[in-house]
Symmetry: C2
Subunit: 319 residues, 2 copies
Amino acid sequence: MKGARNRVVALCGGIGGAKLVLGLSRVITQADLTVIVNTADDFEHLGLAVSPDLDTVMYTLAGLDDPRRGWGRRDETWSFMRSLAALGGETWFRLGDGDLATHVERTRRLRQREKLSVITADFCRRLGVAVEIVPMSDDKVRTRVCTDIGDLDFQDYFVRRRCAPVVRRLDYEGAATARPHDLALAALRDSRLRAAVICPSNPLLSIEPILAMPQLREAVAACPAPVIGVSPIIAGAAVKGPTAKMMAELSLPVTASAVARRYSDLLDGYVVDRADASHAQELDVPVMITNTLMLSLADRELLARDVLGHADSLAKAPA
Amino acid sequence: MKGARNRVVALCGGIGGAKLVLGLSRVITQADLTVIVNTADDFEHLGLAVSPDLDTVMYTLAGLDDPRRGWGRRDETWSFMRSLAALGGETWFRLGDGDLATHVERTRRLRQREKLSVITADFCRRLGVAVEIVPMSDDKVRTRVCTDIGDLDFQDYFVRRRCAPVVRRLDYEGAATARPHDLALAALRDSRLRAAVICPSNPLLSIEPILAMPQLREAVAACPAPVIGVSPIIAGAAVKGPTAKMMAELSLPVTASAVARRYSDLLDGYVVDRADASHAQELDVPVMITNTLMLSLADRELLARDVLGHADSLAKAPA
């Protein structure tokens, strides 16, 4: 069908966003979905290049994710960590044995000057993932967390200190000059775009680092399809992770609408949970009220359909 | 006891030598034993610094070795290799999940400019190994195998090609200029030395790279205690590995005495298996004939006692 709008772009962080991405990948053709993934959480650990959000999305789409833990791989073994502990190595960031292959092989290829995006695409191809998973940039962007005990690297704050320090400010180092990945920009500019979805990921840690790249933010703003945000906050709480705690520490109301206001210049529509129906009228954009808590695979697919339905209802008629 | 000769030095490669080292460590005080280990097999694989002989000796003395496989760790898991294969990584050199911790942590510390010997000593301390395990050098020495199909890196020849190419010559690149480790030289010069043992390791791949460092060879030659070699050849065959095949390809007789002749300027005594009693008279050094096949732990201890007994019988009376 000429002029068909069948393509979808999703902006995504780790587990929360990956759930919706999985839903999207099951209600449209996988190859029509491009996921722009936050890499500001990436870090070097034990000399290995670790990309937590990329891996969460990749493992989720490959069916390799651990659904209970929310990170790493299912049916994982932990011999490496046990042996590392015996040798006095750092064990605050847990790497499973199977997961480790991703980091070792990625590190090896990065050292050979392959790009993160090329390596990711190759891993996805080998794991049978047809969705286009694109790191937001091949350049280095790193979230620094400015806290009451000083400025911390993201994983130091997030994993080692379990988000205990009080957050004062977040910096996305390198974002101003990093070049967004061409495939990300191309996907956002594609005339076949049906929707650009801002996933229910942590706005401060996952979405805003992506949008902190001026070219990428502009591409979202100018994109030819409705931009739909999905609230990561349900009834004043985050499903998982430190979103609520961080928002409170930054004096933001812990509400679905407060998240929407962070992207208000970009959104054409917003999706909130039934628990937050009362917040719908606080926003200037059309709000869909539905079930956003994704416990089952069916929940993921239903929310994906709802999000796309909301986008379709807001789309300008094709020229 | 003043003037006691209670210290032992062993020159050693991988599994064959490690068995005798384990025996020695059980018949003398662990802290009185220094093992000078071949590092010419070391290589970088998947971006990780792998030291096969050092690890075999360390795992053996820590009780972590896999006695059936002859390399790596017991009770090992293999999730890493399975995942690596799925990602298209190189799988010809197998690294177990627990073993991997040694390589990742060593690589991380080497990149921080720690010396291989310091890292090894720290690993040993943490694993409860009181034997002093010393890499022959902190400098890089690498065995190159010149074969009928060209010059090969050692592990390429040894593991990937399973020793199939015909060996024409061996080069120990860097040996002429590498500085033997100070602890190795000090151990060989120690006036308390009871014996220097050349373990039943592959002479071409494990012992001669150590002796290819001129200062170390001189230290062995000048050492104040008897130098005792133990034949790795029993009845014309090696217990394990390519020793016999390589000796034949280099036009060496595959005999216990041919190995002794490689070190003849260094040896004060030699130990051969009962199966090779007939070769004893071919040699100019005093030969002890005993059981050298180390199947059980008791065999390892008995051979260790025999070797030390042979040394004691050859020792000059203390001054």
